[in-house]
């Protein structure tokens, strides 16, 4: 239905009043949340970085200590007299859990250890495996010269699958005082038996190079032992896990309470520095641990706000409902009273009319009185009809009952009812009939509208002394124009005269009683009848045009 009742309007407004702030709030909190999330993600990332850095520091520290250890071992081995050297080196290897093999190169690049003769199978295979290293003295030269300039790993001799790095300790000047005779040292990662192996070399001032071949598994075991185990919860890894991965990306060690799923993407990754090049540590955790709680608090906040708004809305709606009900009660009271008035009024009119018929010609005085009674009771019944119609229209209870008839006839009857009163006021009717055909219309509606228009003219335009009525048939429309020659309607009020309970306030209307619903009812009725009632501009007075649909249903 096109027509929206006030009730519905109020509902819609209330709903808008509630939903708009909620939407706004939701949007704002969403934005806030998004920002919060970005901040938190940033913080989380920082935290992850810090943790992974700490892991890396721990692992780097291992190699630094190891280098210090190996450099001092180098001192011990280098100081051995030549004739004992071989046996002592072998003893060293038997005792050292971390070093599997050693080679010693003289300043001229000859192998001093392992010796040419009387070597064990292990030593022989070590020599052949590392030939590409010890037969390549540049490996130890170039790094020494690069030491100051490039702290980054420099890759040498890819074809032999060798990678050489400057040792972290070598970069630190402090070491120089600890082992003054050492020129340089570094790491070489080499490939043998499907594994990367690590070799630490030290070169001293006599250009002698000692290479230490690390037991890869022991090194890994030591690294693992530097890292926490699962029971150490105080390190804040309750809901996360860190994995140490080697250069083949296979997991070597994992700690922390979080269960890592297969193929789960880490939240943070840090590649380790040489000599553990291409190793990495991965950080895993629940993705939204931190954000869920804040989401919850925001959600709770907006929920509380929304509930308050809805509560307020319901309160106002109820209040309004109550008022509406009271108004309704008043209207229905008036309605009932009107109904109650209608019956006695009809009787009064009927008997007054009967009496008028039975009066003799000479009883002029009485006849005048009776006419007044009839006129006034007619006026009263129009008024009651208006009130009843108004309440009916409020309930959408008016029905249009079209019946065949002639509009001009109907108009003649209405005018007759008014003629007496108008005549008393000296107003004349000037009617131009143009609707003599039989058409379909609701007689009572047309009468009601005309009654309203004519009683208005009677009340406000009696100074014009004349009312001009025109009827006209046009296709399916019948147009009836009522023109008075009174003072007219002020332009400012022209738009409002069809609103219910509006009365033009002027000197003219002062002192004249009225309900202010006449025109409103008239227009509603016209619209119900498929037409309209409009005020058309005229030079003098007011001119109303009623148009109605006269097609059969």
């Amino acid at each position: 239905m096109k027509h929206i009742s006030t009730q519905q309007k109020i509902k819609i407004i209330l709903i808008l009043l509630i939903t708009l702030p909620i939407c706004l709030l939701a949007w704002l909190s969403f934005q806030l949340q998004k920002n919060e999330q970005i901040v938190q993600a940033h913080q989380a990332q920082n935290l992850i970085e810090t943790r992974l850095k700490a892991v890396e520091r721990e692992l780097t520290a291992y190699f630094e200590q190891l280098e210090v250890q190996l450099r001092s071992d180098h001192q011990t081995l280098a100081e051995l007299p030549q004739n004992q050297s071989t046996d002592q080196v072998r003893n060293y290897l038997r005792e050292s859990p971390l070093i599997q093999n050693i080679f010693i190169l003289s300043s001229t690049g000859h192998l001093l250890f392992p010796p040419n003769i009387q070597t064990s199978i292990k030593e022989k295979s070590f020599i052949s495996q590392t030939k590409s290293i010890w037969s390549n003295p540049e490996l130890f030269e170039s790094l020494a010269s690069h030491e100051e300039t490039s702290p980054l790993p420099s890759t040498i001799d890819r074809s032999a699958q060798l990678e050489a790095y400057v040792s972290p300790v070598s970069q630190k000047k402090a070491v120089a005082s600890f082992a003054p005779s050492i020129l340089s040292s570094g790491w070489i990662s080499w490939f043998s038996e499907n594994h990367h192996r690590l070799l630490f070399w030290v070169k001293d001032s006599t250009n002698r190079v000692i290479g230490f071949d690390l037991n890869r598994m022991r090194m890994l075991s030591d690294l693992i032992n530097r890292l926490p185990d699962a029971t150490q919860l105080h390190n804040g890894l309750n809901q996360s896990a860190i994995q140490l991965l080697d250069d083949n990306s296979s997991v070597l060690y994992q700690w922390g309470n979080y269960q890592v799923a297969d193929n789960e993407q880490p939240l943070g990754t840090r590649y380790l520095s040489p000599p553990l090049a291409n190793w990495k540590v991965n950080y895993f955790s629940h993705k939204a641990t931190a954000t869920i709680s804040t989401w919850l608090s925001t959600l709770a906040g907006s929920l509380a706000f929304g509930l308050t708004l809805i509560g307020l809305g319901i309160y106002f709606y109820r209040e309004h409902q109550r008022e509406m009900q009271q108004a309704q009660q008043r209207v229905s009271f008036v309605n009932q009273v009107s109904h109650e008035l209608k019956t006695p009024l009809t009787n009064i009119r009927m008997y007054a009319e009967l009496m008028a018929e039975q009066l003799y010609e000479e009883d002029q005085q009485q006849k005048r009185y009776i006419n007044v009674i009839t006129g006034e009771s007619l006026r009263l019944s129009r008024l009651i009809e208006n009130v009843l119609n108004f309440s009916r229209s409020q309930r959408n209870a008016i029905k249009v009952n079209k019946a065949p008839g002639i509009i001009d006839e109907c108009i003649k009857n209405t005018i007759i009812a008014f003629e007496a009163t108008l005549h008393n006021k000296g107003i004349l009717f000037d009617v131009t009939y143009g609707a003599e055909k039989t058409v379909y219309f609701d007689k009572s509606i047309i009468e009601q509208i005309l009654n309203n228009l004519l009683s208005n003219a009677e009340k406000y335009a009696h100074t014009g002394k004349k009312i001009h009525l025109t009827t006209l048939l046009e296709d399916n429309q019948c147009k009836i124009t009522v023109q008075d020659y009174g003072p007219g309607i002020p332009p400012a009020a022209q738009k409002k005269i069809f609103d219910p309970f509006y009365r033009v306030s002027s000197k003219l209307t002062d002192g004249i009683s009225g309900t202010g619903i006449g025109l409103s009812i008239a227009r509603q009725l016209a619209k119900l009848h498929g037409g309209n009632l409009i005020l058309i501009p005229s030079e003098v007075g007011a001119c109303f045009q009623l148009s109605i649909n006269i097609a059969p249903n």
Partner: protein, 447 residues
Amino acid sequence: MSLKKPFARIAIGLISSLVLLTQPANAKAPPVNLSVDLATPVLEAEKAQTAFVKISLTGLQQDIEKLQRTPTNITIVLDKSGSMQGNKIRHAREAAIMAINQLGPQDIVSVVTYDTTVSVVVPATKVINKNNIATMIRQIRANGSTALFAGVSKGADELRKYISANRVNRVILLSDGLANVGPQSPSELGQLGASLAKEGISVTTIGLGLGYNEDLMTQLAGFSDGNHAFVENAQDLAKIFQSEFGDVLSVIAQEVNIEIRCINGVRPLRILGREGEVIGNKVRTRLNQLYSTQEKYLILEVEIPPSKAGQQKDIASVQVNYNNMLNKKQEQLSGLAIARFSQSKQEVTESINKKAYEDSVEQVANAASIKAIRLRDEGNIPAAKAALQQSADYLAEESKRVDSEKLRVQQEEVLDDATALESEADWNKNRKRLKEKQYKRAKQQSY
């Protein structure tokens, strides 16, 4: 050494081998007895040949009650991966608790478990409050993957907190599955074992059920000179733990270094059953410990150049250094293997040292069995069977030669093993059984 040689020569007039104590100053008899024997003390003359030298170390019975038992430092490393759920973990917990009950306040124990991650359940602690330790062990629940390498690493790290040459330092590893986090190949775990052995730590590996990798477990135990056992049913765990702790508590010597020097042009060929380092004419090997009343030996195969009949030659001199756990002192033993050369084949046969000969044959056959498993792994069942058959023939021949019941039993075993090779369905179990048997034979494990 040179001072002792003349004395030795006189003393061996009738016997073919000699035991020498180089520390007569020590009032108490050393707890270890060294004997160096040639399986064939009389050799054929004018002929280059190979011979077996048996170097045997026997822990002598000690009055443990009277003497102070060697304090221990033990880490029990338990697999608590998902496969251990149920009975297995329950028995493992109970076995560990029961074993720890054998320890006293001078001992140190720690318990480490591993699944995907590693947990130090009981940090290295003196065994004073056994109930506390038991409560902590009872809380172990199985679940997750198998980070065996990290478990052993952390276990060894717990040992290091109290590591001492005066304690028996041992990791006891129980696993029922394949390592799947971290290093997982037998050679990698072997490397770790070798490194731990250098610190005096032995790793005993107990394989539970049919899911573990027996190569990994034997290599880890082998390189660190620990024990190895295959336990098919979890209820047998308690027994094994008992035996293992019995071994640990009876250690009388540690860090046993054996150096063999072949003399007079004799060349070492191979060591049977144990790892060793051969440099020129020198052979070195090491045992982490010796137990009281147990014999540990190694068989060295040597090549001997031809000699004239009637000659007598030193074959190899042996020097053994060890840590006497009873008096906490470094002690040394030495011995000498001497051969006589004769034209008479009968004399050669008659003079055979039966015990040394049996042990040598046993180890040769054992090496053949190890080779047979390798052939079977390569999928070559006929070759594996042929190798075992050959080994059985060899055992039959040699058992006849020295009339040895022990070798006859071994021959039957080898024939049984040959059938065990065939069954595809039972191979997993049989392989574990064979590996365990070979390991025990090679290392003379007591249980």
